[in-house]
């Protein structure tokens, strides 16, 4: 339950003590959502509960459809979006996988669905804790993907997500990834802006010539053979490329209207400016990393952090530029990619690819840590940083992938 604090923020914003999931629900009220579908799975279910409460309390008027499974859940909002509704959906872990057929068709149909993935390890073994492999499964399909790490960022990013996805130049689905437990189930002080500001920021969803309506008779998703498909893929490719500019535009507007938010939408840089060693991760892993970095800085070690917010589109040019300054890079994946190059995680290999044409390519070390929701301990981080320093001194990495915090 959201608890209003006694002291209101000096601005028009309302201060609430809410979880990441509740923050998303607050944002959904502000964007005046039309249709939402639900099917319970931890940790995403906290969002569906929060929205249900909003509707039950009369704070939001929206169709709330409990589907009989994730497949239908995503299919229903896909159709609702096609007829012009602003939609929301979400899932976690194997639930997201069960919706896979619908996740695949959403980008080519240019449906600007916004979804929350409460990151959860894929079964088996049945587990509730965070791993990023669930959301990452759509990484090649035309879904925009971003990771958040605070309740405030959950709320703000949800507002931005609708602005970006529903931009006529884009019309692609967008999944916001939130680490299970650490964000979905953890309450923090969050600023909720007034609706007037949101109305200034977010135009109404206008599907234009793609609207499925008797006054605009069209057929959606006819059969197409090899003489059409590559053109359709190329259209998707172009939309994803255009998303880069639209995302930057949206963040700039967000800062202008709400008076907060990052200048660089793509990644957060924490003490990375002058760092010898830059660690990279996504989501709430930033929190133990920041603590470790402060400790290391106190000991005179110039370590910094880049927390990647956007994974699709992947900010490869800006990242290569930022990372080129370091003497060594340590990528910490909260995911796995068995059999991939160097047996690394997904992020490490994306960054390797992004750096391939860079003028400066510092040694890159790959780490896998915190799988299944295991806590990332400071000792793990120190160990990683030591190895990065050794690589910086040697001028090359050992090309191995190191598992941290695993019993051995």
């Amino acid at each position: 339950m959201a608890i209003a604090t006694a002291t209101q923020a000096a601005s028009e914003d309302k201060e609430l003590l809410i979880s990441g999931s509740e923050a998303v629900a607050e944002a959904l009220v502000l964007v005046d959502l039309d249709v939402v579908t639900a099917y319970p799975i931890r940790p995403y279910d906290t969002v569906m509960q929060a929205i249900a409460k909003k509707i039950a309390n009369g704070q939001l008027v929206a169709e709330y459809i409990v589907a009989e499974g994730e497949h239908s859940q995503f299919e229903i909002v896909k159709h609702a979006s096609t007829v012009g509704a602003r939609v929301f959906c979400g899932s976690s872990g194997v639930g997201w996988m069960y919706a896979m057929e619908c996740l695949v068709v959403t980008p080519p149909l240019r449906v600007p669905m916004v979804a929350l993935v409460g990151n959860r390890a894929l079964d088996d073994p049945g587990a509730f804790g965070v791993e990023h492999n669930d959301a990452l499964v759509v990484r090649d399909l035309g879904w925009m993907l971003c990771w958040i790490d605070t309740s405030q960022e959950a709320l703000d990013t949800t507002l931005i997500a609708y602005r970006v996805a529903e931009d006529r130049r884009i019309f692609l689905p967008l999944a916001i990834s939130a680490d299970g437990a650490f964000l979905t189930h953890s309450q923090a002080i969050t600023l909720v802006p007034p609706k007037e500001k949101v109305d200034r920021f977010l135009p109404r969803y206008d599907r234009g010539d793609l609207l499925l309506h008797p006054d605009n008779p069209i057929t959606v998703a006819p059969q197409a053979n090899e003489d059409w498909v590559i053109e359709i893929r190329r259209q998707n490719d172009e939309a994803m490329k255009r998303a880069v500019g639209v995302i930057e535009e949206a963040y700039a507007d967000f800062r202008r209207i709400f008076g907060r938010g990052p200048e660089n939408p793509w990644f957060e840089e924490y003490m990375a400016e002058d760092a010898d060693v830059i660690l990279i991760g996504m989501g709430t892993i930033s929190l133990p990393l920041k603590v470790a970095i402060r400790e290391l800085r106190a000991k005179g070690k110039k370590v910094g952090l880049i927390r990647l917010r956007w994974f699709r589109p992947f900010p490869f040019e800006r990242l290569a530029q930022a990372l080129g300054r370091a003497k060594a890079i340590g990528v910490i994946d909260r995911d796995y990619s068995f059999g991939s190059p160097f047996h690394s995680g997904v992020v490490a290999n994306e960054i390797r690819a992004a750096m391939y044409n860079a003028d400066k390519r510092p040694p890159l070390l790959s780490f896998i840590c915190g799988l299944g929701g295991r806590e990332v301990m400071l000792e793990d981080v120190y160990k990683a940083v030591d190895m990065c320093y050794a690589a910086a001194t040697a001028g090359k990495s050992d090309s191995k992938t190191h598992w941290l915090g695993v019993r051995e």
Partner: protein, 401 residues
């Protein structure tokens, strides 16, 4: 020439197994002389749709390397032999929207061969087959379109007759003895079939076709849009609603401009507007909305949209009012109603003659009554002159179960 490339153009579903037998037969016959080969169907034709033109291919080569040059393709860019097992396809092939009308001899190499089963004369066929900018040979096997279909394989020997003819056309790849040997080894082979192949080897008729001969019509074609010209979201605009025929009377629906269905038909309805009782049944039953409503309340089958299924004939309550007639009889797609309006007496004469011809009203694919298959089988397989009194619904009323 160290590779032989053949295509078999056939009617989807109805002749699916026939085409597969021919292409497999080509490869297995050539194997007798140590050749390598592949047989495959055009992937885009699958899943097949009833009567829609489809293609199978057989490629044989001296070496595996030569074969590879022709592999991993949907269809070859050129063929040495085009085999066509339904002569109504001489008007061209259009298997999907936006494909345009592709002349039956489009892929045939200069001096290559177009081999058809047909009861028509060379000259009659060349009225339909499009002109080509290179000379080629037209070879005929005397037979009507075989219905060696998917559900009930009718053993009318068409597959072995084609193979026998190919032994004549490409003897360096397929000797008659190799073909005979291969046929015997097939699970569907027999001595009788070998005899049929040998007979066809002798009886095949061939003539040169000059570049001045053939249908001068320029086949309709469509330019495919570029990716940035296409609507996004895998959406296509609906067909708009139609307009009155003339003077606010009647109704002509708009139709898909990118798919004409001309080559889909093996038969078309011929309508007696004088006996039409304007009951609407054909208009209601037509799955392709092919009927235009005329100002006088009768119904004209629009050849842009008719796929030749014959449902209209089946539902029409008036004897001889709608009669399905083989497509080979027609040389254009003009409106019958306009013809009737212009000269009613001449139309009646034409109609009577057209629907009275038992040969052209016999079904090329499918049967009108139970037992027709057995009846046809009894007829002489070799002449292909399967002539049956199956044409007129009224005549068969007693046999309809």
């Amino acid at each position: 020439m160290s590779a032989l490339i053949c295509e078999v153009v056939y009617r989807g579903i109805f002749q699916k197994n026939l085409a597969a037998r021919i292409t497999r037969g080509i490869v297995l016959s050539a194997r007798k002389s140590g050749r390598w080969g592949i047989a495959f169907g055009r992937y885009g034709d699958s899943p097949q749709r009833n009567g829609i033109p489809a293609k199978d291919f057989a490629i044989v080569a001296d070496t595996k390397e030569e074969l590879e040059q022709n592999m991993a393709r949907y269809e070859p860019k050129h063929v040495d032999v085009t085999v066509c097992v339904d002569d109504t396809l001489s008007k061209g092939v259009e298997s999907w929207a936006w494909y345009g009308l592709q002349p039956i001899n489009r892929l045939t190499e200069p001096n290559g061969t177009l081999l058809m089963t047909s009861l028509q004369s060379f000259d009659a066929l060349l009225k339909d087959i499009h002109m080509k900018d290179a000379p080629y040979k037209l070879s005929l096997i005397r037979a009507k379109a075989s219905f060696s279909g998917l559900w009930v394989y009718k053993e009318d020997h068409t597959e072995v007759r084609i193979l026998g003819a190919l032994a004549k056309i490409a003897p360096s790849f397929l000797t008659l003895d190799a073909v005979a040997e291969a046929i015997k080894e097939m699970e569907w082979g027999s001595e009788l079939k070998v005899a049929s192949a040998r007979k066809t080897y002798e009886r095949i008729e061939t003539r040169e076709v000059k570049i001045t001969e053939g249908n001068a019509e320029v086949p309709y074609a469509f330019e495919m849009p570029k990716w940035w010209e296409m609507r996004e979201g895998v959406t296509i605009p609906a067909i708009p609603i139609g307009k009155p025929k003339e003077g606010g009377q009647g109704y002509v629906p708009e139709r898909n401009p990118y798919f004409k269905k001309f080559s889909t038909r093996t038969m078309r309805p011929v309508i007696d507007f004088d006996t039409c009782v304007k009951c609407n049944l054909c208009w209601i039953a037509c799955p392709d909305s092919c009927f235009d409503v005329m100002p006088d309340g009768t119904f004209d089958a629009n050849m842009d949209a008719c796929c030749g299924c014959g449902v209209c004939e089946a539902v029409c309550p008036v004897e001889n009012c709608i009669t399905m007639v083989n497509e080979s009889v027609f040389n254009d797609n003009a409106s019958q109603w306009e013809m009737w309006r212009t000269d009613k007496t001449a139309y009646k004469t034409w109609l009577t003659a057209t629907i009275g011809d038992k040969k052209t009203t016999a079904r090329s694919h499918g049967f009108r009554f139970r037992g027709q298959y057995d009846e046809e089988l009894k007829k002489d397989l070799e002449t292909g002159g399967v002539e049956i009194a199956a044409g007129i619904p009224g005549e068969n009323a007693a046999r309809k179960v």
